[in-house]
């Protein structure tokens, strides 16, 4: 039977075999520096809540903001605040960071529920407060603060609460391993979330290339015996895990341009996000660690590691045995949407799902040639845009026409570039076009004189 799905998309080689069977290894460094950027989410950056020289505990808040759309940052180790200042981050820019010298003791401070003076587990009317206080953001990579997502605008009835375990990015297995190893936590987490949305079905969406995860999660949901929850197997197709695509596949609903999932009755959270929600609501634990797939053809022993946030990419790579040869690209994330890094001396943040090191053989190092008008980008675009045309318009700097042609709907999934025989930098030009339009809008929106 063909599963309902979205139109477009591509089938890149999945590279998952490298780490699919690797159980998550806990790795807690015994010393060294951990670096915590003050902006690890979409929204307002945090301000430091500690000073240089302060002793901090694991779970202690390092930074927070008064803004609604923001999320606090916690120390993942115990130790001393060594510095507060600019450090290199994954995208290659210098960002304000809190640097903690790890004492290796992992001494834990009071938990959130205790600090907030709440019962254990928290009562439903306190959920959003706890989730905000726990610094939970979309851990699939979008990093949008979860308490905002779980508070849909007035009048929206949520009918589908979708847990995104599609993990359509090639090479990554962090979500897959989480579903295999902590299905009970995820199932209970989903039940907790459903208590916020009485009319919603709870659906765990998993691509069919992860049959064990599908089975494990189904058994677990059955065990809880809640008829509102089920697993929905999904066609293996990139970008199945993109919010708009997954909503289309699971519910048949299409999100109009500019609208939110809640506008079509959906809330969608990544599995790791759900895990953090559960941990916060039941144990009062904020976002401290995450699972990261360290993989790629030049990594000596690829694996999945649960590490404290703030650890450097270099240390993580060394933990995976280092490189067998010099990679030409090291990515934070998967090969379709990951960010290529200039240096390995940057910290892991909340949204980092994988470290992927590619050799010259496997990385795309393209030389652009003329567009053939072959239509492969059009066929691949899951947003049903015409990437070749958008590319053309951006190169002409005709941003008005770019916007009219729907360019702002581009989700930067990379399907068009992946499919283009002429290796046009379609995704990149779309990204540039979007940035230009956004800058233009900001200029216009700015107070007049």
């Amino acid at each position: 039977m063909k599963l309902p799905s979205f139109e477009g998309g591509v089938h890149p080689p999945d590279g998952k075999a490298l780490t699919a069977e690797k159980a998550v290894e806990l790795y807690q460094p015994q010393g060294g520096e951990l670096i915590f950027p003050l902006l690890q989410h979409l929204g307002a950056p945090c301000s430091p809540a500690v000073k240089r020289g302060d002793r901090v505990l694991r779970g202690q808040k390092l930074a927070d903001s008064d803004a609604f759309v923001s999320a606090p940052i916690f120390s993942s180790v115990s130790g001393t605040v060594k510095d507060i200042g600019p450090r290199m981050t994954i995208p290659g820019s210098l960002e304000e960071c809190v640097v903690v010298e790890n004492d290796g003791l992992y001494e834990t401070g009071p938990d959130l529920l205790e600090t907030l003076g709440l019962s254990r587990p928290a009562a439903p009317e306190e959920y959003l407060k706890v989730i905000r206080a726990a610094g939970i953001v979309g851990m699939g990579g979008a990093c949008f603060p979860t308490h905002v997502k779980l508070a849909p605008p007035e009048g929206r009835v949520i009918r589908w609460f979708i847990v995104n375990g599609a993990e359509c990015e090639p090479f990554l297995n962090c979500d897959n391993r989480l579903m295999l190893e902590s299905p009970d936590i995820l199932a209970e987490g989903l039940q907790l979330c459903l208590s916020l949305f009485p009319q919603a079905e709870g659906i765990v969406a998993i691509e069919t290339n992860k049959p064990e995860s599908i089975q494990t999660m189904s058994l677990e949901l059955e065990r809880l015996g809640d008829p509102r929850m089920r697993v929905a197997p999904q066609e293996v197709k990139y970008p199945q895990g993109a919010e708009k695509m997954l909503i289309r596949s699971v519910t048949g609903q299409e999100i109009p341009p500019g609208a939110l999932p809640a506008d079509v009755g959906c809330i969608i959270v990544n599995v790791r996000t759900l895990y953090q929600i559960h941990q916060a609501l039941t144990l009062g634990t904020p976002v401290l660690d995450r699972i990261i797939s360290v993989t790629g053809d030049v990594v000596v022993s690829p694996g999945n590691f649960c590490v404290p946030l703030g650890i450097s990419v270099r240390e993580l790579v060394e933990r995976a045995g280092g490189f067998s040869e010099d990679p030409v690209k090291v990515l934070a994330g998967g090969p379709m949407m990951g960010i290529s890094m200039r240096s390995l001396d940057v910290p892991i943040v909340k949204g980092t799902s994988g470290i992927l090191a590619l050799s010259e053989r496997s990385a795309l190092l393209p030389v652009e040639s003329n567009c053939l008008r072959c239509g492969r980008c059009v066929e691949a675009c899951p947003m049903r845009l015409v990437p070749s045309n958008l590319d053309h318009l951006v190169r002409l700097r005709d941003y008005t026409a770019f916007e009219q042609a729907g360019g702002m709907n581009c989700i930067e999934c990379g399907c068009c570039t992946y499919n283009c025989p002429a290796s046009r930098f379609l995704t990149q030009t779309c990204r540039d076009g979007k940035a230009a339009v956004t800058a233009e809008r900001r200029k216009k929106g700015a107070p007049k004189k």
Partner: protein
């Protein structure tokens, strides 16, 4: 070590299908028709193909060099144009004419428009059209095994229609033992090549299937003498439908657009064959439809996900 890391925008992997590979597949699938041509028209046919390919590739390289552009003949698109032009010429064509036609196709129809992807009409077909206007006699002299004679479609046009028996048997059309252009006569060879292109995903089935189906249905409605199979197998229809109307640059990008385009090609072909001054209408039909591509593309823009239909 880390200083050598490449910084680039995502995505970081690629399907591996390049322009060169696509053109390579097209050349490979054109091979059977060329062999059939050599088989029925002799080695002369191969000489014409060689002249066209070499002239196309050389003129592209020289032009790009003269213009200070990067030389891109290794993408094989000029070679494809050369083969397609040759396949649309009679085997007896003087070689200098074939050479001039090639120069015209590459320089005037392709490079003047910005090279690969920029042209608005199929260069091979435009080259052929130019040659037909310039040298009408040489372009319509058909021989088979050294004996000159008319093509099946010309016979129908001349009104041999009275008796179907005067036409070559259908079987000869299937294998290609009839008068005609070098690469157009052997239905079986063309179907083999076209099938390969569809199977490998280089072209979609839409344009050839719709094109051929429309011609078949219309020839039935218009009561053409030879019958449906005859209309489909005779002349340049198969070559045109599989290899020329499917040219990426000069056909629409979306599925719906391709169907409209192919239906237009089919309609024009049937009309020209029946009512036009020429016995054959494939080349002109495709050329005319090439010109409508921007219009069709504009009309068949895909609906953006979530956008409400207007």
């Amino acid at each position: 070590m880390t200083s050598r890391l490449v910084i680039a925008s995502s995505p970081h992997i690629h399907s591996g299908l390049t322009t060169q590979k696509i053109m390579g597949w097209v050349l490979l699938s054109l091979l059977p028709a060329g062999l059939a041509g050599a088989c029925f028209f002799g080695a002369r046919a191969l000489t014409v193909v060689a002249v066209c390919v070499v002239t196309c590739v050389l003129s592209e390289a020289l032009w790009q060099k003269a213009m200070g552009q990067p030389i891109t003949v290794s993408d094989l698109s000029a070679a494809v144009t050369g083969v397609l032009l040759a396949y649309n010429l009679p085997p007896t064509i003087p070689l200098w004419m074939a050479g001039l036609g090639s120069v015209f196709a590459i320089i005037l129809c392709k490079q003047f428009f910005g090279g690969l992807g920029g042209n608005i009409v199929n260069p091979a077909l435009a080259g052929r059209a130019m040659m037909l206007i310039s040298w009408p006699v040489a372009m319509t002299t058909w021989t088979l095994n050294g004996v000159s004679g008319a093509t099946p479609l010309a016979l129908i046009k001349e009104g041999v229609s009275a008796s179907v028996d005067a036409l070559p048997p259908l079987w000869d059309l299937v294998i290609g033992r009839v008068g005609g252009c070098i690469g157009e006569t052997s239905a079986v060879a063309l179907l083999l090549g076209g099938g390969l292109l569809i199977w490998k995903g280089i072209i979609s089935w839409r344009i050839p299937v719709v094109y051929i189906a429309v011609v078949a249905v219309l020839s039935l409605l218009l009561g053409r003498t030879g019958g449906v199979f005859y209309e489909v197998l005779a002349g340049g229809l198969l070559l045109g439908a599989f290899f020329m109307a499917t040219d990426y640059t000069t056909s629409p990008m979306t599925a719906r657009g391709q169907i409209i385009f192919a239906a237009g090609c089919g309609l024009l072909t049937a009309l020209i064959r029946t009512f036009g001054g020429y016995p054959e209408g494939v080349s002109y039909s495709i050329l005319i439809m090439n010109l409508t591509v921007p219009l069709i593309d504009g009309m068949t823009k895909p609906r953006i996900l979530g956008e409400v239909k207007k």
